[in-house]
């Protein structure tokens, strides 16, 4: 039991922090937050994004199409970045709660026993 307790409050706790960091990093990667931020104003899926070497009228139209595509792209990417950051925040918060509760978990049987002995019930 001593080995277990020592592991819980040293290696085990440290590993938990490692896992929380990994989970947070995975969320950012899954939502491509960094990549989307770097390409925020790129045309979206290259819709009508081809360059035109035609008349001035054609070039103007191509420019307008590209601008529209960039606008769509920026909007979609911004929304995904926001959702990604929210998800990241939730994961980090859950992780922090886990980290705070971690030292208490081995003590739960004692806490439960004390509460039972006091006779306290909810409500």
């Amino acid at each position: 039991m001593l080995t277990l307790a020592r592991w819980w409050y040293t290696t085990g706790w440290a590993r938990l922090f490692g896992h929380i960091g990994q989970r947070a990093s995975n969320v950012l990667a899954a939502f491509s937050v960094g990549l989307l931020a770097r390409t925020l104003f790129d045309p979206f899926r290259q819709i009508a994004a081809g360059r035109s070497s035609g008349s001035l009228n054609d070039q103007t139209r191509a420019f307008a199409d590209r601008t529209f595509s960039r606008f769509i792209g920026a909007f979609v990417r911004f929304m995904v970045i926001v959702i990604g950051l929210l998800a990241w925040l939730i994961v980090v918060l859950i992780g922090l709660v886990q980290a705070v509760l971690w030292p208490v978990v081995p003590l739960l049987p004692i806490v439960g026993l004390v509460l039972a002995m006091t006779g306290w019930v909810i409500g």
Partner: protein
């Protein structure tokens, strides 16, 4: 390592390893977590709804389940201690957990065989029983094993001492280790190779389990749609992203990858043409690149990040483009789509199909050239060297726009690694296990017999075909040998079955059943064959090379025929080349012609049937150019055909015959000399008379003189011919016997000093068969009777023919 290694049974890590073994953490982790949750919820529910305070005690118990669950998950990995120096710090948990307090080497062997690495070594090298049978039972011997294990661990640079490393250490510390291992055809290097293979296997599995597709959901949002490419191409990146790719980072392939990335990302010509033989790994290199681009590291240029490689399918393109000009238009549209999408690298495998008459009689070079020139589209092509040369010559401008990258064949170490990669899938598909000895044999035998591909492709091809010869699910060295014997018609295994051994041991008698005397010639040929089949010959040369000198009709050709019939499986295994038909300087071309031009050329016949007797008749008449061509065949067992393809003569016996100096031999024999007395002098005389050059004669293993047959031997020849006639009469159920007088008469009539015994067969057959035919037609020979031929009948028949 000066310090003595220590094994501490009571160390924290050793205790954790034993606990890990007992509670099987991989199965129990989720169960404990779930039970903890149920207990917690149940306890709180009891307090809440039943208003019973003991519910708190129940809920509190959940903490214990969660603690054990977390600990169990940790135990599942139980990594080694990086700064550890004791054995228990570095030993893999699956071995550590199975050790008693004071382990003997035998205890180690048992723990090893229960662990993954030990299981691997037992299956791949077949050393399982060997380990337990030969391991010492003395605890005092264990210290030396620990010492060896630590030394191997540092020498091989492995992260821990796994069961495979410990198995190797245990083996190395056994008395008579080398001699005992040799009994299972293994050496020390093979054991170390097994340890490396296990480490490589573990790395591949870990690599396969890690995240393959990177970049997240928004990865491709800045790039265009590619509906046409989706229809006519195969997205390698997508496939690898979902299914993974089991390949190693071979050093030579790393260089190729760097060159490809450099060519694709820099300069105006953003393409790469992989040029190499079939099997050299062109397609695999492109797959490896696709995998690398999915998870780009620091060595990947930014221009290539998240690029997808799409392979175009020529067959589908041709099927779609039915009208003239449609194909060009379709390829143009595909290239435009790929360029507009901005994240595509087009891959044209067998790219010659796009440039030659292959694609529906259309050369797409004109379509592709402006695209390559513009440099807006990244493209990879793969083709073999001959096609590249052909295309470069036909369209020099096109080749100027292409960045050629040569792929040399892989060396042995890389081929072994490539085979280890490939066999993971092969084992899954064929439900077999490949042994290490099979891999070694596949490399050795494919190098020798499969010349149509380069390494590693040819070795992998042989491994794949060997799966059909697996024994109890294991592909062994023998399976690989059987596969090559079946497909190439050669004998590569040493003589193992009793019938073959008996044939080899009695080869002289069996040959003498077909030909008379010439004992020395029969013996040297038989010895050569026995050496070859016992595996004690030089495998870089033909089985044997012999020059037979002597008059006509004394058995030179007959010996070659007998050998082919007795051992090589029939007289059709005799490849006979009459060199008096190769007297011109240009006749070399006919000798080494490709099978498509002349299937009877020497090279074509041996390529088709390497296990043969090659008879080069009347060699003294061949043109010097022809003899020069044959030098390499005699020396190294190799001849290059007209297309420069290597043809292997290393499984053939080569017999050259010559009548040169026959008269001299006859005179010396008649003067009472023995062959052995003048053999060397005779050879010198042939060199001095410029009949043969000394460097040519030196290429033969043996030069054997055949002497003219004497009267007794000629009578024996008649007997052999009569045996043949009787065999032919078996169907008629009659037999024939000829008395001694008659046989002497036949010898006198059939023997010609210039032609030796050659006319004898004709004379005997004519006389005897005619007499038999007459008697049978006259109903004088009933089935079951014996026809006795008298000297008068023979005389009568001979006179009739002379008249």
């Amino acid at each position: 390592m000066n310090e003595q290694p220590v094994f501490n049974y009571r160390s924290q890590r050793a205790r954790q390893a034993r606990l890990r073994r007992r509670i099987a953490p991989s199965d129990i982790y989720w169960v404990l977590l779930l039970v903890g949750l149920v207990v917690a919820v149940g306890g709180v529910a009891i307090v809440w709804y039943m208003r019973q305070p003991w519910g708190w005690a129940l809920a509190g118990l959940s903490g214990l389940f969660w603690v054990f669950a977390a600990y169990g998950r940790f135990l599942r990995d139980l990594p080694p201690k990086f700064k550890g120096t004791s054995v228990d710090d570095l030993l893999d948990a699956d071995v550590l957990g199975g050790l008693p307090p004071l382990p003997t080497p035998h205890d180690l062997a048992e723990a090893i065989l229960r662990a993954r690495g030990g299981d691997f070594m037992a299956a791949r090298l077949g050393i399982g029983p060997f380990l337990t049978e030969h391991a010492s039972q003395q605890q005092a011997d264990t210290q030396a094993v620990w010492q060896e294990a630590l030394q191997l661990h540092f020498q091989l640079g492995l992260p821990s001492i796994n069961a495979a490393t410990l198995a190797a250490a245990l083996l190395r510390r056994m008395p008579n280790y080398t001699a005992e291992l040799a009994k299972v055809r293994l050496g020390d290097e093979d054991i170390l190779a097994g340890v490396r293979w296990f480490a490589h296997f573990e790395t591949l599995l870990a690599q396969h389990a890690t995240r393959k597709r990177d970049g997240g959901i928004g990865r491709d949002w800045s790039f265009g749609y590619t509906p046409l490419l989706s229809r006519f191409g195969f997205n390698l990146s997508e496939d690898i992203g979902y299914n993974g790719l089991l390949t190693s980072d071979l050093p030579s392939r790393q260089t190729i990858l760097s060159e490809m990335m450099k060519s694709l990302s820099a300069g105006a010509r953003r393409n790469a043409v992989l040029v190499g033989q079939l099997g050299s790994g062109k397609t695999t290199s492109v797959h490896t690149l696709a995998q690398k681009l999915l998870t780009p590291g620091e060595d990947v240029p930014v221009e290539l990040h998240y690029r997808q490689i799409i392979a175009l399918d020529p067959a589908r393109l041709i099927a779609e483009a039915k009208e003239r000009g449609e194909l060009e238009e379709l390829v143009q549209r595909l290239c435009s789509e790929a360029a507009a999408a901005k994240n595509i690298i087009l891959f044209l495998d067998d790219a010659q199909l796009f440039f030659e008459e292959g694609m529906g009689a259309v050369d797409l070079g004109n379509v592709l050239m402006p695209i390559l020139e513009a440099g807006g589209l990244m493209m990879i092509m793969a083709m073999d060297e001959q096609r590249w040369t052909k295309i470069s010559q036909a369209n020099p401008a096109l080749s100027q726009y292409l960045n050629r990258i040569m792929l040399p064949p892989a060396d042995k170490d890389e081929t072994m690694l490539a085979m280890q990669d490939e066999l993971i899938l092969l084992e899954y598909e064929h439900k077999v296990v490949y042994m290490y000895q099979a891999l070694e044999a596949a490399y050795r035998l494919s190098s020798r017999y499969l010349s149509d591909q380069a390494m590693p492709g040819r070795a992998v091809k042989l491994l794949e075909s060997s799966a059909g010869f697996a024994n109890e699910g294991f592909v062994t060295q023998h399976s690989v040998e059987q596969a090559i014997e079946q497909t190439q018609g050669v004998k590569v295994d040493t003589a193992s079955n009793e019938d073959e051994r008996q044939v080899l041991l009695n080869l002289e008698q069996l040959i003498h059943a077909r030909m008379i005397n010439q004992s020395r010639a029969v013996q040297v040929v038989s010895d050569a064959l026995r050496r070859a089949r016992a595996g004690v010959r030089n495998t870089e040369r033909p089985i044997g090379t012999f020059l037979f000198l002597g008059p006509t009709g004394v058995g030179k050709t007959e010996l070659a025929k007998s050998l082919a019939a007795v051992y090589f499986g029939g007289e059709d295994h005799l490849v006979r080349v009459d060199l008096n038909e190769y007297v011109g300087p240009n006749d070399v071309e006919r000798l080494i012609a490709d099978a498509s031009q002349d299937e009877h050329s020497l090279t074509a016949q041996i390529a088709h049937q390497p296990f043969s007797v090659v008879l080069l008749d009347e060699i003294e008449k061949a043109h010097p150019n022809v003899l020069n061509t044959l030098l390499q065949m005699l020396d190294e067992g190799i001849l290059r055909d007209i297309n420069n393809r290597q043809v292997n003569f290393r499984d053939a016996i080569i017999i050259a015959t010559s009548n040169a100096g026959a008269e001299l031999i006859r005179r010396r024999i008649e003067s009472g000399q023995q062959l052995e007395q003048f053999e060397q002098q005779f050879t010198d005389e042939l060199v001095n008379a410029n009949v043969f050059r000394p460097e040519f004669l030196n290429r033969f293993d043996e030069i054997v003189l055949f002497r003219p047959l004497n009267q007794d031997e000629l009578l024996q020849v008649v007997d052999l011919i009569l045996q043949g006639i009787n065999k032919g009469l078996e169907a008629q159920k009659v037999s024939v016997s000829v008395d001694l007088e008659s046989r002497k008469l036949l010898v006198a009539s059939g023997y010609d000093p210039r032609l030796g015994a050659r006319p004898m067969r004709r004379v005997v057959q004519r006389v005897v068969e005619n007499i038999v035919a007459n008697q049978m037609l006259a109903s004088q020979a009933a089935p079951g009777s014996e026809i006795k031929i008298t000297v008068d009948q023979v005389k009568q028949m001979l006179e009739r023919h002379d008249a």
